[in-house]
């Protein structure tokens, strides 16, 4: 399979605190990758560094074969990486404006067509098109976050804990939507999560532990690993 995103021996952090100590991972085209890890493992730091919000101290990031390690966030987004942060919407702008900003650097015509598709996927959003982002429920905000990220036709979508702050019912709904989009749009995804319900549709799993990748493999391999099973599934022998 063709490698879409490549991360090699990445080191990053905040000020004097180094968080990532040489993490490597790969996302192939049309592949769903889940990055698992407990709080403080460095998941968000890794995603932020890939998106360019944090500078890489060492290591290399490639996207579609090109080195993007030194690029600014907006150039990476324009290059085809979509990033959805935990609270990635503008609460004081309308749903419509949020979507428009998602496709900020694309033509108006293209944006309108794409917004129409998003309203097809998420009928709730159409009903709230003229309402402020702040008036949406938690689940609807996530949907808006996903739709806003998809507006720019990204080749790869990076999501930071799409399940955070949601009730189990909504978590299920988010997973359904992501599965659907993966099939419909042939999306590649890199999702950082603590919630193991996301593993079901992951084709590859990485576990991040204290800034290092401690495991990579598919769901079967993961479930066969005793220590991991204890940590993440709470099942012991």
């Amino acid at each position: 399979m063709e490698v879409l995103l490549g991360v090699e021996a990445l080191e990053s952090g905040y000020g004097s605190i180094q968080v990532l100590w040489g993490s490597s991972l790969e996302v192939a085209s049309n592949q769903c990758v889940v990055l698992l890890g407990v709080n403080g493992a460095g998941k968000t730091t890794l995603l932020k560094t890939i998106a360019g919000l944090l500078p890489a101290r060492k290591g290399k990031i490639t996207f579609k074969g090109a080195d993007i390690t030194g690029l600014k966030p907006n150039s990476r987004i324009a290059g085809g990486i979509g990033y959805m942060s935990e609270l990635g919407i503008f609460p004081n702008l309308t749903v419509e404006e949020n979507l428009k900003l998602g496709g900020y650097f694309r033509s108006e015509k293209d944006n309108r067509k794409r917004a129409g598709e998003m309203y097809e996927y998420f009928p709730d959003l159409r009903a709230y098109a003229k309402k402020m982002g702040a008036s949406l429920s938690g689940g609807q905000r996530k949907m808006l976050g996903v739709a806003k990220t998809l507006m720019s036709h990204p080749g790869l979508v990076i999501m930071d804990e799409p399940s955070s702050g949601l009730s189990p019912k909504f978590v299920k709904k988010v997973i359904e939507v992501l599965k659907f989009l993966h099939e419909q749009e042939k999306l590649s995804m890199l999702i950082a999560e603590q919630n193991v319900s996301f593993l079901d549709f992951a084709q590859k799993i990485y576990i991040l532990d204290k800034g290092r990748v401690s495991f990579d493999g598919d769901v079967q391999e993961l479930k066969g690993n005793d220590t991991i099973r204890e940590t993440y599934f709470g099942i012991s022998r």
Partner: protein, 306 residues
Amino acid sequence: MLKKIFPSLGVVLVVVAMFLGLPSIYSNQSFLFNLMLYLALAEGLNIIYGFTGYLPFGYVGFFGAGAYGSAIAVTLLHISPLWGVLWGGVAAVLIGIILIPLLRLSGAYFAIANLAASQALYYVVSNPALEKITQGPYGIDLSSVYNANAAYYALLGVLVFAMVLVAFIRNSDFGLCLLAIKEDRVTASLAGVNIVRARSIAWMLSAFVAGLCGAVFGWYSAVFYPSTVFSLDVSVFTIVFVLFGGIGTLAGPLAGALILYSMYNFIGISTPQYFQLFYGLLIIALVLFLPDGIASILRKGKVYVP
């Protein structure tokens, strides 16, 4: 888009008609001039504060830079005062470019740093060692080119420019991306907005408007001193007017400046002893009950504010 252009156009036309017509009914030209000055400054400040959320407490620095930039061009390079106005705008933009790194700060830190920068500029300009260029603390004398009527209409032109600029920003994608920066810089950059470029452009446009205002003010006053054109009152008045009217709109700052500046003149001159009390109460009431300005009353009634 077109539907929203007409209300804005209406506002611009009303303001222009007002300042073309008023001089023949009301003879206090100096009041009308100052009113127009604050309308234009309010729109200029609105560009940076209303759309990107940076509160420029040192906004007067651009005003002063404009006054001095144009006066120096007129006195030393002997260009006509009308062209001098443009030079004033350019001088303010140059100061704006020097101050672009301040945009890395946010909130109160930005406001304080900007305030300090404007005061630094004041002390540089009024330094006696620069007497050959700026006349130092002794002030500038432009009485040889004094022409009150010409300056009045030049200011009207500046005001129209400022209003059209704000109307454009309010209805364009550029304005939307500035609002995104105001909301959340990180999320904006993740939407693909080039934050540094967008906010720098807004900053320089805002500076340009203040520079033009300062330049025309210098021309109209004929004689001015560093303490007049770098007076903090200019910043404070402009900020209060913009807040009172409602930030991020075209009509809000105009209404705010119109109401408060007129009141300042009428009450401030008839009963100056009560004026500050009255003004203070008004501002307290504003902060408590209408933090988003008088434009928010209309918005609550679902009326579009241009």
